[in-house]
């Protein structure tokens, strides 16, 4: 055996004691490890929310990008304004007009995806311990942002018409009684991620009025609004209450997610702060990417392209719903989205979707457990199923595999008794259990 000099103790991270409290949750996890397998083609991934880009005119885009750099390279490859390019902001206003928003381009701030816009909004409004209201369930990326700023998320129930106004009233009343002011309501009104439901138009004015009367700002995140399968759009909350809504938009689902171009539309005073916050984060959004989007909007039939996306996603949704109808065991229920990317499924009592994930990955199918979409640990009986990326045939195969996984897990539940009753974690906010 080797004779060695002792080297003593060591931590592999000498900075461990220096991290901010908000970094506490940034650790390796089994779930993340399992998703590494989901990226392999053998696995039918119903997990990720990657847009399907196969219909994009790549040859045309390639020529346009080359032309941009050739003719306008000195602008495209240079720093720009934190506000975003004026021509693109004009075009963004035209895009938003499809959902009845009348806006001035000066009130638009272009961001690196709408995720950055959400980060900026949270940065300028939330101190640690502040309360943010969000639908239960809510977008996992938003929950991550709120956690990063140490805001406390209080979930508000949904049903098949989206956020429930009465639940919002109750949440606000109990928070006010506890002397806990709410900074904003974060909502995804259209084709919700992950719930798949859409806020009924009749509810929108009521929800806005509740927020206004309680002096709560509304942050409207609307990445899927143009992806209704019948082409229908809904009036944006921003169109109904311009002074009390910050609207977040994105080209990630209607054009190209990889360009990371999104925006915030905010009341003037908020917009000024957003711009300063954005400047300190990135100086400016990428000029080249903004110019690619702008050129695409100006020269391509982008509305026709969105229609082809709608058609492709409708076909995939139908494949998923048909598969669920055919294969899922009794006791399962799911939402029926009229647009967007996601179905939210509730499984029979006794099954914990997070605990089941390794079995699913072994069976070469992946989903996201519902627990990821709640800040309070709820959601163990739910899962998000994405239909945006795989082909309809692969979706059908994925559902078949998932049904077999669920059957095996139900057998375990029968053997060992209901498992997800054990935790008693967090408030029991009901998910949208609406078959």
């Amino acid at each position: 055996m080797s004779q060695l000099e002792p080297s003593g103790s060591r931590s592999l991270d000498p900075h461990l004691r220096r991290y901010a409290a908000r970094a506490a949750g940034m650790t390796a996890s089994e779930v993340r490890a399992l998703f590494a397998v989901a990226s392999r083609p053998e696995v039918v991934s119903l997990a990720g929310g990657m847009p399907n880009l196969t219909a994009l005119p790549l040859d045309t885009l390639s020529t346009q990008v080359a032309d941009l750099i050739s003719k306008d390279g000195l602008v495209a490859l240079q720093y720009g304004s934190a506000h975003g390019m004026p021509e693109l902001r004009d075009q963004i206003c035209e895009v938003m007009s499809l959902e009845e928003i009348r806006a001035h381009p000066d009130d638009v701030v272009v961001t690196v995806g709408s995720q950055m816009a959400l980060d900026m909004v949270t940065r300028i409004f939330c101190d640690p311990g502040d309360v943010v209201l969000a639908e239960g369930p809510s977008y996992v990326g938003a929950l991550g942002t709120f956690a990063a700023y140490q805001a406390d998320v209080v979930h508000v129930a949904m049903d098949d018409d989206g956020l429930v106004p009465e639940a919002l009233r109750q949440a606000l009343a109990s928070l006010e009684a506890a002397n806990r002011p709410v900074k904003f309501l974060y909502t995804i009104p259209n084709f919700h991620n992950p719930a798949g439901v859409t806020m009924a138009v009749a509810r929108r004015a009521e929800i806005l009025e509740i927020c206004r009367s309680h002096r709560v700002l509304v942050v409207e995140d609307n990445p899927y609004g143009l992806l209704g399968f019948d082409g229908q759009t809904y009036p944006a909350l921003r169109s109904m209450d311009p002074d009390n809504v910050v609207y977040l938009g994105s080209f990630s689902k209607t054009f190209a997610a990889g360009l990371r171009v999104g925006w915030a539309l905010a009341p003037h005073a908020v917009r000024e702060k957003l711009m300063l916050a954005a400047e300190s984060a990135t100086l400016c959004p990428p000029a080249l990417n903004q110019m690619i989007v702008s050129r695409y909007l100006a020269t391509h039939d982008w509305k026709g392209q969105v229609k082809s996306f709608q058609s492709a996603y409708r076909e995939r949704r139908d494949a998923l719903l048909t598969g669920l109808d055919q294969h899922m065991p009794a006791g399962c229920s799911w939402t029926v989205p009229a647009g967007g990317f996601f179905v939210w499924m509730t499984v029979p009592e006794g099954v914990d979707t997070k605990a089941m994930l390794p079995r699913a990955v072994t069976a070469r199918v992946a989903y996201v457990s519902g627990t990821g979409f709640y800040a309070d640990g709820f959601g163990s009986r739910q899962m998000r199923l994405s239909f945006c990326y795989p082909t309809p045939e692969r979706i059908t195969e994925g559902v078949r595999r998932l049904a077999a996984v669920l059957a095996a897990e139900l057998e375990l539940a029968n053997t060992f008794g209901p498992i997800n009753q054990r935790a008693g974690r967090g408030p029991q906010v009901p998910g949208p259990d609406i078959a």
Binding site: S2, D13, A28, R32, A36, E42
Partner: protein, 316 residues
Amino acid sequence: MSDLAVAVLSGGLSHERDVSLRSGRRLSAALRSVGLTVDEWDADSALLDRLRTHRPDAVVVALHGVEGEGGSVQTVLEMLDIPYVGADSHACRRAWDKPTAKTELARAGLATPDWVVLPHSTFRELGAKPVLDAMVDRLGLPMMLKPDQSGSALGAQVVRDAADLPAAMVGCLAYGETVLAERYITGVEVAVAVVEGSDGPVALPAVEIEPESGIYDYTARYTAGLTNFHTPARLDPAAAATVAEVAVAAHRLLGLRDVSRTDAIVAPDGTVYFLEVNSSPGLTETSLLPMAAEVAGRSLGDIYADLIERAVARVQ
């Protein structure tokens, strides 16, 4: 040596794909740093064509999980007569199946925590409660639950309260059909890498593992800083010698070859309990073999370059 072409296999479809990719990347960089030509290949449907077409001088299996440690890739390499680093397919299977490894080492007189192995079907057919009660009667609490074939602590849990057993069983059985339940031993947790050279298998300095949470689970393993390591382990000379002997004995008794890593617990009375052995040790930034190698004054590249030479010589 430098004209050897080596293929490092990593990735695969096991639950440890992410760990394996990181092991493969780190090993490949280490081998390139000592002058070897290295290709990094995933274990996918193109692998056999690649192996046949390129016929590397040697393969290093940095796959974890059943593909890399359960003997399946080794069987393929044996069919193709391609030299590779590590144990042959039969020995891999013995080591990968934790109950088999424990049984063989217990028969040879090594201490290992008392254990029972039960498939889901037993609980289903005999009723979960009486079987779980019998497990508690036999092994006591706390109890360690692990899938019988798994790595990186995936699915492993310490159960301290009988009421938590059903949930822990469900979590564990999501990784496989059979559970290995062990008596929980309190003590100093160590990992000992064994590397073969001209003098046979030699133990590198033991690495003592001290997780901040008290449990060396997946998060503690792969989040830098959540575990403190002491190399060599803070053991008295007699215990240090014993853990080295146990690791070399496990390597020999299971018929392992080239490299292995044994995990063990040193109880307060000095007894060294064998837990499990790994025939394809992790080589990530937070893995234990590279730490032991560093303290032994050897680089990862040097160690594996020697092992590659041995693998090539074996078939010449």
